[in-house]
Amino acid sequence: MNIVRAHKLKDHFVELLRSASSQLPGDVVDALQQGFHQEDKGSPAHMAMEIILKNIELSKANSTPLCQDTGTNIWHVYHPQHICKTALEEMIRDATEEACRLSYLRANAVDPVSGLNSGNNLGLRFPVISFYEWRSSAVRASVMLKGGGCENVSTQYALPHESLQAGRDLDGVRKVVLDAVFKAQGRGCAPGIIGVGIGGDRITGMIEAKHQLWRDLADRNPVALLDKLEQRLHDECNQLGIGPMGYGGKTTVLGVKAGAIHRVPASYFVSISYMCWASRKASVTIAPSGKTTFHKRVPRSMTCNTPNCKG
């Protein structure tokens, strides 16, 4: 409780949202630069990558949203025992409203019944907040902004899949991921990052897929078979030739990240979460002393399945 009230967490959270909305993590910028250099000069793909890189510079310099769709805000908050989560949630909601007022975030919450926009980016389960207790005495909050365009091309398959001849194994997983990236074409704002959740049920599988999007692009999967699958899919998705914005080109995805969780014998779901090139993430750690550290890259501990794993 004290850490929440004492250290003006709301202000830190507003800063976190500003940073997430206007600055991309370094690994994503590096991958986009690499993509820019490999597209043919004078092609629409090359022009798109050039504009993307200019946009990254401008957004950072002026603290303006990289993309006007500031998306669903997905918060992961790691906290010590005996902390008041209600207070934390209030701080996050207050910070969200403030960030919207400051134009770091768009008013994005629409009531599907009335059709009305709430006007302050707050709504029911909006933003999305998950709490994880951990053994550290610090609070660590990470936020991911996931736009609607890429969420719309995210999808879920049940194996076996007849028309793709995808069976209940990792090769079947490979086939449906390729199909999903093909179907998305440029609509998810390619080049994208593909999070894959293998197994689970229809909800936990998709959560696992989204969870994979926290990983650094350079991060290698500790499970050898999944690592191999990720590398192969990265290469094969780019062979599809969809390219930036779907203009045709070499850079269709910046990375593929896969995680597997247990399934019941009857179900074999493959959940695919497509993240646009504007993969906006930011993280902050607040120590009990009040010392605050903003992370340019999301710490490893955020990307493990269990919150207490060493990060």
Partner: protein, 191 residues
């Protein structure tokens, strides 16, 4: 780069071909999901002068208001295919010459553009701060309260708004070309 001044007539628009890079200047209006639905259900007369020989931009901008009025802070394109159900009718009824968005549109819109003389210009998705720089002034906003800031009609003056013609007035579609080529590669990879 081809420079386009709005309003633009049918003859000039039919000169454009798939793959052309364009820089658009003039006054255009944003309309996305709720705006398209509203138009189709009401066929409002006040929309006509905003659309005739001009451009519809699929965009839900981040807009800031100060004593000088509204300013677009971040204004990239949204995915256009969601308007596929509405756009052919809007093109036939109001006669816009350019549809701007991202991701391309379907065969019904392509046919409507071929018939009426209109093109689809693809803006760079996500490049919202970059694009906002080409929005010089917001002249007006319509239905802000009813539709909310991202979905209202924002009438804006742009200068050298850049994009790529990916669907032209002759039935050409870069999206169809890329889809077909990638489908071939997909089948090879599924073997």
């Amino acid at each position: 780069m081809k420079h386009i001044q709005l309003p633009i007539g049918e003859t000039d628009i039919r000169i454009l071909k798939v793959g052309d890079e364009v820089a658009i200047s003039g006054v255009m209006v944003t309309a996305r999901d709720a705006a398209h639905k509203y138009i189709i259900e009401n066929w409002p007369k006040w929309v006509a002068p905003l659309l005739k020989d001009r451009a519809i931009y699929h965009c839900g901008p981040v807009v800031r208001k100060d004593e000088n009025g509204y300013h677009a802070i971040s204004a990239g394109p949204t995915t256009s295919i969601r308007e596929e159900h509405y756009e052919p009718q809007i093109i036939a009824h109001y006669g816009p010459r350019i549809i701007i968005g991202k991701g391309g549109m379907g065969d019904a819109t392509l046919a409507a553009m071929q018939k009426s003389g209109a093109v689809y210009v693809h803006a760079t998705g996500g490049a919202a701060s970059f694009i906002a720089r080409s929005i010089r002034k917001i002249h007006n906003v319509y239905m802000l309260d009813e539709l909310g800031p991202p979905e209202a009609f924002w009438e804006m003056e742009v200068e050298d708004f850049t994009g790529v013609v990916t669907m032209d007035a002759h039935g050409g579609s870069l999206h169809n070309i890329v889809r077909k080529a990638s489908e071939k590669r997909l089948h090879a990879l599924l073997q």
